[in-house]
Point group: C2
Chain length 244, copies 2
Amino acid sequence: MPRFFINKDASAPAPGDLFEITGDDARHISSSLRMKEGEKLILCDGAGTDCLCAVESVGPTVAVRVISLSKSAGEPPYRAAVYQALVKGDKFDSVVQKSVECGAASVTPFLSSRCVSRPDERSAGKKAERWRKIAAEAAMQCGRGAIPGVGDAIPFSEAIKAAVEADIPLFCYEGGGESLREVLRRERPGTVSVVIGPEGGFSPEEAAEAAAAGMKTVSLGARILRTETVAQTVLSCLSYEFET
Amino acid sequence: MPRFFINKDASAPAPGDLFEITGDDARHISSSLRMKEGEKLILCDGAGTDCLCAVESVGPTVAVRVISLSKSAGEPPYRAAVYQALVKGDKFDSVVQKSVECGAASVTPFLSSRCVSRPDERSAGKKAERWRKIAAEAAMQCGRGAIPGVGDAIPFSEAIKAAVEADIPLFCYEGGGESLREVLRRERPGTVSVVIGPEGGFSPEEAAEAAAAGMKTVSLGARILRTETVAQTVLSCLSYEFET
């Protein structure tokens, strides 16, 4: 069933409520999905509640009435924050899309010493806007109960400072570390963070800084994964271990 | 260290042997990597053996001498065959690249009832050639001990007939099934197959045919993964469970 998110400023939904869907979502419902009166869709309140709704009218705005509420099934029982070093070209687009599909609660770009991509302020703003749109689209498409946030780019040290607060703070490093399985089998986390370097990896100094701050350095096995592959792989293992 | 594969018709390598690297690999060594005499690289025999070599001369062909042999570390202790329904645009490129990185032994495209992409013979040949090149590049980049094969497109029924021979024959179906974790925690497989549908999923008839043939229908959790996301997710879980 098609899913849409309610505007953040809407009040908490209840059965019988009427909602008006506008803008791109309304166009998508009328022109692409060609939905008609009486057909059903899900409005998600972005806070973990799905509202089953019936379409009442279709036009430039689409009116829908809430039939019943249920808990969103698409949210993992843990919050996983991805911290991904800025990467070249459109690779970050793919990291955002795959992270959302695979259960990330947020994706935050950061700048480390070997980052080749160093956008200026204007292009950084444009990119952040595009990533937030990709996150919203992916959340709707895969059935999330909330749209994961995409943060603005921060320096490496700030990323570590935030990431280390998680119950399981993972620092992915090709220079070695414990196996991901060993780390995940020790405890059932409420929060996880996943810190991933750029194409050229982390410098040994950065790896030492992360370890000193309390990050758990993990290895993802014998093969060298591309940077844009790592988030999906780690999130898939989290879901496998704690969600299914 | 840079890795290259020996031509298939080369004899089994031994320390002291001299190999000549030609074509794209030679150009890559001389022009991109700018390697010099005495520098080291790895030649992989594609059958699980890595040869540590020293460069002896660089030119249109590059001569290297084998110093020592070791077992390739990048091959999983199981053989995972991916069967992926043909998908639109360049999504199959990404499936091949990610599958190789994440440990697949082979990737075979197939045609099911809801496949939108149905290339004619000429374009199918061109695509297969591109996918084999992507597989070879990914194998070198991530440190595989063999180049996974990419098969020609086959009908759905043939894919099932081949896939069902694996110790764990997984049929990924959004219509439900056992959780992947339950299935993988029951036995340590020698061979696994992973059958993945197109954008529109499998038809209920195809799911029934697969189950009747003996495939294990598995669910990948509450979120609907895009078809091009599934192979990497399942392969990552296999590696997590059996490899690290």
